[in-house]
């Protein structure tokens, strides 16, 4: 059985970068797949990889990570400025971030608007 845990953006917005990453990693280390509303900052994504590497041992093999995000190039002018301002003030709530344990998630295939998640147990595709 695969368990998904939804984390609303409000669940991380007041946390520091380190605490955000720890929160997500703790869920992943309990063998659940995180579905986060919105996305982390770019630097936080790199930090997430870095901290994941520090945590790897014989049980925890790492993570699979994927972000579905609306195509920036499609929004124009005022809409782009508006989105930028909202993101700066309230955090980036657009899109979804998926983080799963590498022991369960074999791979996440990412097309711009679609995610295919392959689990390790039976290699079944889940849309």
């Amino acid at each position: 059985m695969v368990t998904f845990q939804f984390v609303p953006y409000s669940g991380i917005e007041r946390l520091s970068s380190a605490k955000r990453i720890n929160k997500l990693l703790n869920i992943v280390k309990s063998n659940k797949i995180v579905i986060l509303e919105g996305r982390l900052k770019k630097e936080e994504e790199a930090d997430l990889i870095e901290i994941t590497m520090e945590e790897i041992d014989q049980k925890f093999k790492g993570i699979e990570l994927s972000v579905v995000y609306p195509d920036d190039n499609k929004s124009r002018g005022l809409q782009k400025i508006k989105t930028g301002l909202v993101n700066a003030l309230l955090g980036d709530r657009q899109g979804l971030t998926i983080v799963g344990p590498a022991s369960i998630v074999k791979k996440i295939e990412q097309n711009p608007n679609q995610i295919e998640l392959f689990t390790r147990e039976n290699n079944k595709k889940k849309d």
Binding site: I49, I56, A102
Partner: protein
């Protein structure tokens, strides 16, 4: 007044030359994209010696390798000097059992996995030290991976100029257009680092990258 002007001129030249001689050009990307093969090609072409070992088993490069004072020249006679930094491949998962499947013994596989995790951490930490970066991707593999997006996003956030090399274009499965479509805002050069295909075009693009 003359002293002030002289000071300014001296500072300008000092900064200009110190910057130029200390340019750090990083090779970044996921494991097995061909970073070390490209590093070896550059060093063989311009220094007459290789700098890194290569292997078909991922995470062969587990430490930052630096080759100082690499001088390259273009057809117009323009010269470029940089320190070439070959970095370990960035991954989100490292499983020692994968190395065992490739024929390694348990102890060696575990050691390699441990070193590989440290290598990834070092590669990320070194992002801040780079002046320009060549992201080396395997053109036979789907480029829409979060690791690629995270690497390039972090370089963009740090205002570090990026050139994307789509490596292994000598292989039948290579798909240069797929990489161009994934990262339309960047210059993409298709090369075969192993066989030197399109390598002159790569060098020309290095001059544009490291201005």
């Amino acid at each position: 007044m003359v002293t002030l002007i002289q000071k300014l001129v001296n500072t300008f030249f000092k900064n200009f030359f110190s910057q130029k001689s200390h340019i750090k050009l990083g090779l970044y990307g996921p494991p097995n994209g061909g970073k070390s093969t490209l590093a070896n090609k550059i060093c063989t072409d311009w220094l007459g010696e290789e700098m890194s070992t290569v292997s078909h088993i991922p995470h062969e490069t587990r430490e930052i390798n630096i080759k100082e004072e690499v001088h390259i020249k273009n057809k117009k006679g323009k010269e470029l000097t940089f320190s070439l930094v070959d970095t370990p491949g960035i991954a989100t998962r490292i499983d020692y059992e994968e190395f065992i499947k490739k024929g390694m013994k348990g102890v060696i596989a575990k050691k390699r996995a441990k070193e590989a995790t440290k290598g990834v951490i070092d590669a990320i930490k070194w992002l801040d030290k780079m002046d320009s970066v060549v992201v080396v991707l395997d053109s036979t593999i789907d480029p829409f991976s979060q690791v690629n997006i995270t690497i390039i996003g972090n370089l963009q956030a740090r205002n570090i100029p990026v050139l994307i090399v789509a490596n292994k274009v000598d292989l039948k499965k290579a798909n240069l257009d797929r990489i161009k479509a994934a990262f339309p805002q960047y210059e993409v050069v298709g090369v075969s680092a192993k066989y030197g295909q399109n390598i002159d075009l790569f060098y020309e693009n290095l001059f544009k990258l490291v201005k």
